[in-house]
């Protein structure tokens, strides 16, 4: 059909300066962009008013430590989703990294970390190659390693849970700097790095362009395949790092259950954070806020003696709400 015959209706996506604050509140696009911060604020306000012992440094430390691995995985996931992809294998990658750790800790902490991260990079490279070189749909490509990755981890670990005694590795999970846990530092710094990557580097802008219109990017001479592989490798490495940190905190390598359902948590954080599933945009801060929102919500419900089941149903509702404001709007 003739694309220009119907002049594209001027979209009201951009919050323009002349728009009154009230009108903004009726604009779904505004919610897609800022809704998650508002929701975090509302949850915090609620807790400040109604929850005892919530607004304390101790509690925040606990919440942040718990959310840190999710944030780290979600950062990689946000990049992948920015290219109109998805990575289901992140949970299995965490397990794989965890399985490698005890095998190489004998050679020292550094070699073990390098090997574990490398494992993540390899998983990412395989995913990226399947997506970009073979041309598989991301869901299928990463499904294979979702299924196989954890199996591989279990095979390597002989299906065993292994205690970690290396003090250096353990301190990664328990240590803190300036009163803030190391894992939180790591997640925070990584978020800043990824934000810089997306906003200010050639690679980051290419990621967004590839997600926005792949064939246009290819014709503009962008290294589309390299960008795709790069994105999945980054996602794999970040997932492996999250696996290492989670292992350090658990004081045990547990490939059978570490990172299960992590793919869902990460995707949820990204989507709730306002990154559209069809690519072309990466919201790093939104992703962090999305992960935080889900964490705070669960904590709030727990503090009010509401069971986990309620938390899950609430999360489902929030995902639906987030996607609802982000859905394609039709004009009729």
């Amino acid at each position: 059909m003739n694309p220009t015959a119907v002049a594209p209706p001027a979209k009201s996506d951009e919050p323009r300066t002349s728009v009154s604050p009230l009108a903004r509140l009726r604009d779904p696009a505004w919610y897609q962009r800022y809704g998650v911060y508002m929701a975090v604020a509302v949850v915090l306000l609620f807790n400040a008013l109604f929850t005892e012992h919530f607004m304390t440094a101790d509690n925040f430390r606990t919440q942040l430590v718990q959310v840190a691995p999710i944030v780290i995985v979600a950062l990689g996931m946000a990049l992948v989703i920015g290219t109109e992809g998805v990575d289901l294998s992140v949970g299995s990658t965490m397990a794989l990294a965890a399985a490698f750790l005890p095998l190489y800790l004998g050679y020292g902490l550094l070699p073990a970390l390098v090997v574990a991260l490398l494992a993540g990079a390899v998983v990412g490279a395989v995913n990226g190659a399947l997506v970009s070189l073979v041309g598989l749909q991301p869901i299928v490509a990463t499904l294979a390693l979702f299924v196989g990755g954890r199996g591989l981890a279990l095979v390597m670990a002989d299906g065993q849970l292994k205690q970690i005694v290396n003090p250096d590795l353990l301190s990664l999970g328990t240590g803190s700097f300036l009163g803030i846990p190391l894992v939180v530092w790591i997640a925070g710094i990584l978020a800043a790095v990824v934000a810089f990557l997306v906003q200010r580097t050639t690679f980051g802008r290419q990621v967004v362009a590839v997600g926005g219109n792949r064939s246009a990017a290819a014709l503009a001479g962008l290294p589309v395949k390299r960008v795709l592989i790069g994105v999945y490798v980054i996602c794999g490495v970040l997932a492996a790092l999250a696996g290492i940190l989670a292992t350090a905190r658990l004081t045990a390598s547990d490939p059978s259950s570490l990172g299960t359902l992590m793919e869902l948590s990460a995707i949820t954080a990204v989507v709730v954070g306002g990154t559209p599933l069809n690519g072309g945009s990466v919201r790093v801060l939104g992703t962090v806020a999305g992960a935080l929102l889900m964490q705070l919500l669960r904590a709030t419900l727990v503090k009010h003696d509401l069971p986990d089941s309620t938390a899950q149903i609430a999360q489902a509702a929030i995902i639906i709400a987030a996607v609802y404001v982000a859905r394609e709007r039709r004009s009729r």
Binding site: P9, A209, A220
Partner: protein, 535 residues
């Protein structure tokens, strides 16, 4: 082109005494910020073939969508044989007897011919299950009636576009259509397929079916249409007999320009004089071959010259442009830029060598709709505007500012999303993307298609200027006037091979048509066969 077999003249008896089978009365349709249809009244008589014309943005597509139930009108009403009707869904329009054949065949590619024709109304056997034997038999009979013979079991996507369209038409007719709407049906057909289509339209007319025919091709309209309705800027301008209407009059109604102005200025904005071309070519392509698409194509481009690439749709024009920019996988052939032969042919390598391609499909292959005007402009130049992988905003802003001014890109700011711009401005953004790379060779594939008249003129004079400044330009256009007035030299393609070349005074409409039609020697048919064997 072979002289057409006599198309039945406008049937006095069937057409004009009959009452309106479909009417739109004072129909309006608004979108946020745009009035797409403004109080349009128009009627279609049984058995007539009615042309609907207008420039892009005139409201043709919107009107069609209102008539077929895709859009609901904001004001006014539709009537069928005098009775008011409302269509909530396309299906209701279909049930009322209005069928539509779209430009892009709107069938399901993976499903078989028969399943496509009978989708939604499959014949059942006595167990309530689909009766495939009957379905295949009836499909065969139906298509035979159109002079098309296809295995009803074949997946649709394995057929040629023309055949697919016949299947779509067969579907329309078999749902007992009273009105058939055709939206640019010939845009992707071969001349012979067009003849088949016209014969079928003649058939429909004989059956008393009204045809609403949307096309930009004047020749076709005058050949097969009885009456014409002109829309402009969403408003109804004229309805009347086509026979007595002068072509120039029709064009001036479409453009909203004075007749004398149309005559004087021609249709395009190119200056009359040619350009000074250099003596040695900046780009030489030899023996470009790609299985089934290109056969041993050789062209040279000279600095300061506009080379037109002529040929009908499917002749390999766009593929040649893609090949020259490294975007098409080649089986053989090489590219030499300024004496250096490119080793690996990829878009990135071509861009580095100074070759830029403005692709045909602006939406699918050009713009990144979610990114800003600024980012779309610097997309290809990004590595040059950054240091150690970190982009420099200041450098970007400088470049973007220069090109937005030079090309007069109308956007609220460089940060506006490019998807929100009009087609013409999007095209200028894409031109800016390539021009900021300072290319030596600019390949333009349909640079003015689907953009408004003003932007079209600007783009055309820009092409003129660029050539004068020493760029080598390759121009592809379906608009023959644009090609002839814009190009200094024209290479004509047919069947994926070079069919002829026009230069100097030969760059004229009749010469071009002569080469396009089968008068010239025919290398196209033999080339593919020769190409198959080696290895």
């Amino acid at each position: 082109m072979a002289p057409p077999e006599a198309v039945p003249e406008a049937p006095e008896a069937a057409g004009y005494t009959a009452s309106a089978v479909l009417e739109a009365r004072s129909v309006s349709k608004r979108f946020p910020g745009v009035v797409a249809l403004d109080d349009v009244t128009f009627s279609l008589r049984a058995g007539e073939t009615h042309a609907l014309v207008g420039e892009n943005g005139a409201g043709k597509s919107t009107l069609i969508k209102v008539l077929t139930g895709v859009y609901r009108p904001d004001g006014g009403e539709l009537r069928m044989t005098g009775e008011p009707v409302r269509f909530a869904r396309p299906f209701e329009a279909q049930q009322a007897g209005i069928s539509t054949i779209y430009q892009e065949v709107n069938l399901v590619p993976l499903m078989s011919v028969a399943r496509n024709i009978f989708l939604g109304r499959e014949p059942r056997n006595r167990f309530g299950l689909i009766d495939f034997a009957r379905m295949h038999r009836e499909t065969g009979e139906l298509l035979d009636g159109f002079g098309v013979r296809v295995d009803p079991r074949r997946p649709l996507h394995t057929l040629g576009v023309g055949t697919q369209q016949m299947v779509a038409l067969a579907r329309a007719v078999s749902v007992n259509a009273q009105v058939v709407i055709m939206d640019e049906p010939t845009s992707s057909l071969e001349p012979r397929e067009v003849e088949t289509l016209f014969r079928v339209i003649g058939n429909l007319r004989d059956k008393g079916i009204a045809v609403l025919y949307v096309s930009h091709r004047m020749d076709e309209l005058y050949r097969i249409c009885d009456r014409v309705t002109v829309l402009r800027d969403g408003r109804h301008i004229h309805t009347g007999e086509l026979a007595g209407l002068d072509r120039m009059q029709l064009v001036s109604m479409m453009l909203g320009r004075d007749l004398s102005e149309v005559r004087r200025s021609g249709v395009t904005s190119f200056t009359a004089e040619g350009h000074e071309a250099a003596r040695t070519p900046v780009l030489t392509a030899t023996g470009l071959s790609s299985r089934l698409q290109l056969h041993d194509i050789s062209v040279s481009l000279y600095a300061g010259e506009v080379l037109g690439l002529g040929g009908l749709l499917g002749s390999g024009r766009s593929e040649t442009a893609k090949a020259l920019s490294g975007a098409l996988r080649l089986d053989a052939g090489e590219l030499t830029v300024d004496g250096t032969t490119l080793k690996r042919l990829t878009p990135a390598a071509a861009i580095r060598a100074g070759i830029s391609l403005l692709p045909e499909d602006r939406k699918a292959e050009g713009i990144v709709p979610g990114l800003s005007v600024r980012e779309n402009i610097v997309l290809a130049a990004m590595p040059r505007l950054s240091r150690a992988g970190v982009v420099s905003r200041a450098k970007q802003d400088r470049i973007v500012d220069i090109f937005m001014k030079r090309l007069r890109i109308k956007a609220s700011s460089p940060e506006q999303k490019v998807g929100e711009l009009s087609g013409g401005n999007q095209q200028k953004v894409l031109l800016a993307r390539w021009l900021c790379l300072e290319p030596k060779v600019l390949l333009l594939d349909e640079p003015t298609r689907g953009i408004d008249v003003g932007a079209k003129a600007e783009v055309q004079s820009l092409i003129d200027d660029l050539a004068r400044e020493g760029l080598a330009v390759l121009l592809i256009s379906s608009d023959i006037e644009e090609l002839i007035e814009g190009a200094d030299r024209i290479v004509v393609l047919r069947g994926g091979a070079v069919a002829g070349e026009l230069s100097g005074d030969d760059v004229a409409e009749d010469q071009l048509l002569e080469v396009l039609a089968d008068h010239a020697p025919e290398p196209a048919d033999t080339a593919p066969a020769a190409q198959e064997d080696p290895r």
